[in-house]
């Protein structure tokens, strides 16, 4: 019983890391640009398909193809920004959020149907030769694909933090997040910053897609579910709060796993949504956000 609970919590944390990673891109984009890209789940889907085809056609290991996935999604994100989202940047914040939400929703409809057309409705997944290997610690099993989630998430969290904290571009992104007008007066080209943040967010979604394809399965209509998860996590962590997002993911993962352990796995998704609504109503700045940020 106790060991089982331990296993459950570990799985909750590992899966929660994936939720965090899925939300990371969404949160980055929202924080910097105030675009609410509800087509994020579809970007995750594209990432999943990119690594799936790299695996099945080129024989590339899904973890080795991550750079390739990043490039593809980065370019896709840049194109999306230029073609669609850049048209909303002049709007005041509130209507910007609303309009990008609507536009992104239209995009998700388009992407789903394009995916159906080109990837078919078949369920796809990546199963590597080493997927069932695991190590045991105190009677709790740590399967490699799940541990990989945590490793990849931590790596990308560190990379993202390094970019944001140490590079000039990263500082420009943070400055734009805090006050785009002041950033503009520093000589920062905010269009470039927006483009870059959007493309980076898309690339992060792509990485998450790889992990989804390895751990679960992918198909054209998977987007909404993952967008929902990302929204929950983003709100839990505080809108645009990068480290908070990962912690939010872990909390969601734990909430789900404990719900299935103590109540029923039928209600794990519902539990996440309830938590989301409670936080939304009673602490809209997120569990870790301060009012100012």
């Amino acid at each position: 019983m106790l060991q089982s609970l331990g296993q459950n919590l570990v799985f909750g944390l590992l899966v929660g890391a994936l939720y965090g990673l899925v939300a990371l891109g969404l949160s980055l984009i929202f924080g910097v640009t105030k675009f609410l890209n509800v087509a994020h789940g579809e970007l995750v889907m594209f990432g999943g398909y990119a690594s799936f085809y790299a695996f099945s056609m080129l024989g590339l290991d899904p973890f080795l193809s991550i750079p390739l996935t990043i490039i593809i999604l980065f370019v896709l994100g840049a194109i999306l920004y230029r073609l669609v989202f850049s048209r909303t940047i002049k709007l005041p914040e509130e209507s910007k959020i609303k309009n990008t939400l609507l536009v992104a929703f239209g995009l998700s409809v388009i992407f789903q149907n394009l995916a159906l057309r080109f990837f078919t409705a078949d369920e796809r997944g990546i199963t590597t030769s080493y997927f069932s290997q695991a190590f045991t610690l105190g009677g709790v099993r740590f399967p490699l694909p799940k541990v990989a989630i945590l490793v990849v998430t931590v790596i990308f969290l560190i990379i993202l933090q390094l970019i944001l904290k140490k590079t000039y571009t990263g500082k420009a992104i943070r400055a734009t997040t805090q006050n785009w007008e002041a950033a503009s007066l520093m000589g920062i080209d905010i269009h470039k910053v927006y483009l870059l943040s959007f493309a980076m967010g898309a690339a992060l979604a792509g990485v998450a897609g790889t992990l989804v394809a390895v751990n679960y399965s992918i198909q054209p209509s998977m987007g909404l579910g993952w967008t929902m998860k990302a929204l929950i996590v983003m709100v839990l962590g505080g809108l645009g709060n990068i480290p908070g997002t990962i912690i939010g993911g872990l909390i969601l993962g734990l909430t789900e796993s404990t719900t299935s352990f103590f109540i029923s796995s039928n209600y794990r998704e519902v539990a996440g949504l309830v938590l989301f609504l409670l936080v939304l109503i009673f602490r809209p700045q997120g569990l870790f956000g301060s009012k100012e940020a």
Binding site: L36, V84, R87, T88, E94, I97, K98, N99, L101, L102, V103, F105, G106, L107, V109, I110, Q112, N113, L114, L116, R117, L224, M228, L231, I232, V235, N266, Y267, E269, V270, L273, V274, F276, L277, L280, I281, P284
Partner: protein
Amino acid sequence: MKKNNIIKLILIIVVVALLVVLPLVIKNDSTINLVILVLLYILLASSWNILGGYTGQTNLGHAAFFGVGSLTTRLLWVNGVPFLLSFLAGGVVAVILALIIGAPAFKLRGVYFAIGTLALAQMLNLTVGNILPEMSYNPDLANYQLLPRYYLFLGLTLITILTAAILVKSRIGLGMMAVREGEDAAESLGISALKHKLIALSISAFFAGMAGAAFAYYHVSFYYYMPFGSEWTFDPMMMAYIGGTGTIIGPIIGAVFFVLLKQLLVWNVGEYHLIIFGTLFILIVLFLPGGLVEIWQKFRTFLTKKTKRRKKVLLKATIQNEDGIQRE
């Protein structure tokens, strides 16, 4: 102008009359089913528009009210409650749900409200699927008739449109629009934002619930959780936007357009209709926030300007002519 009004009134009467006699003239069930689909979407898009369009609260949980309405009506009706009673119960329960969630939901502003309502509908969808996973069958299949269902939808749609039209002309309607333009400004004018949002939500939910009730009566067999699906929010919302939010006619145009486009495209190019519809939706949100109605209005002002100009030219010509005559 007065003459114009009479023409419009006559047009409306003609349309309604046409819709009333339609199933008697066209005995084709498929056409009637198609019109029912259009009416259902008009109901959903118009009711969404009351809160989403006129009050400016992007409600992504409209399906929750539609679903609750259909669930209530179907359960009561299947279990032997008289039809009319179970039918009305659908709308009433939707309003009750609206009142329960309204106060906390409206603590959320703007985008928070949108994603909050989306989460709410998803939650209900999953929960109903968990509790009532089974298929609901029509209890009396042998005596199924399309006509009463058609008139039910028609009547409900007319009532919804009429209510919306009266509402937006009323003081409450003006208050709703003031809230849309800016809550703080509205409050400073003494308009309670919460009150108006709650009223709009309740009315919107009521008609969504009634649409659900009609759906429950219409459909031969469906899963109880299905009307809670997000497409029942997203499709009507897209229709309202494409037609033009914050207008009475917009959702109607949007719904008609959606269903026709879908029918035409399904027949000709397979599954492309959603790609085209999605693209159109994006274009409208980005470049034509007034929707198709705006195109029409622009076109009309363009026309009237043109005729006015032509009249002016004619007038000038006549004057010149008269001058000429005088000179002769």
